[in-house]
Amino acid sequence: MRADRNERAPLPLTIAAAAGLLFLHLPILLIFVYAFTTEDKSYAWPPPGFTTKWFAVTWNRPDVWEALTLSVKVASISTAVALVLGTLCAAAVSRTKFFGRETISLLVILPIALPGIITGIALRSAFSLAEIPFSTWTIVLGHATFCVVVVYNNAVARFRRTSASLIEASMDLGADGFQTFRYVILPNIGTALLAGGMLAFALSFDEVIVTTFTAGQQATLPIWMLEELVRPRQRPVTNVVAMVVVIVTFLPILAAFYLTRDGDQIAGAGK
């Protein structure tokens, strides 16, 4: 829907939209302010003073580092698994019509369509039935499952925009299936996969609900934060960690946005 003439938005609408956006963003900005507060016993506003000393304190905390390392490790492995599974699924679904296509799409989407707690408790009870001890791998198992859909969605969209005749053209010119994959398919879906991978990383890095059921004694960064939220002990350190998490997740999202935007322009121009 587009206003054809250079129409101005009515004032009440502008105010409502601006207020809505402020509502979305002010709480996140607040996190940035609290990371610098000198107050360490309460959430007092306005902050009595500003300091950067909590950054140093956080930097020297081994438990934060451990949680961060585990999160990065889990997110990396889950993203890699999701990239493989999601791309395979997207290629199969978008290249050929076969019986059960809809079922496959549903199967991929289900892990994030159903509430995370269901995925979490289902996995946990399955682990206990199969007597699998909790480890980094049980966390990865859960994360990869719901990360597949992000890669899948990005790849399917790109496959749809990539003309099927490109593959035929490549084969026609003498490239076998593997050469076609390497020289035509991969370069055309590359940015979509990169974007999907980044979103999957962000999703895994941030996940807490499923993780609480599959982590056992280990703590990912979100689990560490959850513990701080339920029983606050290190308010200033939590503030700093929260701010770092915001920044760390923003970067891949921004990158993914620009990647898919430029990529689609290239794909569109080729038509």
């Binding site: 963003h25 607040l30 408790i121």
Partner: protein
């Protein structure tokens, strides 16, 4: 021209043979591509899910606390006990209110972005919704803990505006009130609304983008008042988007157990009940039965949404 044959010889090696085989039998390639994801999702995910659902038909022995592996509907009967029914009703009502509020707050943003934002502003609006959507769930909840705290920014702001009496009046109300915002349904509601709002804006905006601008102008050219245009032209066309968004807000609220645990009263929501039963109580059958509730509710919801054509707007 014998140096230029019409049919080239087969390439040597495994790659050449495989490539030929895939071309001759496209089904083989399809099968190989689908096997890993279907095995992963089918065995790990669906397998766990069905194992869980199966457990809801078992029961727990009240004396020994052990699970009895016999088919029974007894556990589902327990769901209907007053205390458990309370939990279900509380959660569903909260999900419904959050969904309605999210629709109301999201509409102006989505409408503005779809109809008036152009070029750079378009990208700005998109990112302005995407960034909060993707930023850390826990950080967002944490931010609201900061905001709603007694010594926090909201109380400070109300004091500055001399409106503390209003907050106190609100907190003294039954049900929605409480000791402080952090420990009231109002607080829980605000955090739910905040965390799920972007999930409402995006599909709504997608639906509104598809409303032709000239349709709106045609309606006003025909002399319709803005309210009439909204009710008879914009709203029906935006409805699939609203329903699509509501699927997210409704489903996410139904299954969440962290927000009510951190901000809210001590009364349980479905997610918390599931967590408690599977954890300390060790009553997996009842926990499984509880998880069936959001699945069934969402099943009906999705079925209705599909009939309204909401899936095209996602």
């Amino acid at each position: 021209m014998s140096a230029n044959p019409a049919i080239l010889p087969r390439r040597g090696g495994v790659a050449g043979a495989l490539s030929d085989a895939f071309w001759r039998h496209p089904g083989l390639l399809l099968f190989l591509m689908l096997t890993p994801p279907v095995l992963w999702l089918g065995i790990i995910y669906l397998g766990s899910l069905f194992a869980l659902l199966a457990q809801s038909f078992f029961s727990i022995d009240e004396f020994s606390g052990l699970v009895q592996y016999e088919f029974t509907l007894k556990t589902y009967g327990e769901l209907l006990r007053a205390q458990n029914l309370d939990v279900i009703v509380r959660t569903v009502v909260m999900a419904a209110i959050v969904t309605l509020a999210a629709a109301a707050v999201a509409f102006p943003i989505a409408y503005f972005a779809a109809r008036y934002a152009k070029g750079k502003w378009k990208a700005f609006f998109y990112l302005a919704v995407m960034l909060p959507l993707w930023s850390s769930y826990l950080v967002k909840v944490y931010a609201w803990k900061l905001i709603l705290a007694k010594e926090g920014i909201l109380n400070w702001l109300l004091a500055k505006l001399h409106l503390t009496w209003l907050l106190e009046a609100w907190l003294s109300l039954p049900i929605v009130g409480g000791n402080s915002l952090s420990f009231s349904y109002t607080g829980t509601f605000l955090v739910f609304l905040y965390v799920w709002l972007p999930f409402m804006i995006l599909p709504l905006q997608a639906a509104l983008e598809r409303v032709p601008g000239n349709l709106v102008e045609a309606s006003s050219d025909l002399g319709a008042a803005p309210a009439t245009t909204f009710r008879h032209v914009i709203f029906p066309l935006a409805l699939p988007g609203l329903v699509a968004g509501s699927i997210f807000t409704f489903s996410l609220t139904l299954g969440d157990y962290i927000i009510p645990q951190i901000v809210g009263t001590s009364r349980l929501f479905i997610g918390q009940a599931v967590y408690a039963h599977q954890g300390t109580a060790g009553n997996i059958p009842l926990a499984a039965a509880f998880t069936v509730v959001p699945i069934v509710v969402m099943g009906f919801y999705l079925w209705g949404a599909k009939r309204l054509g909401a899936f095209d707007a996602m």
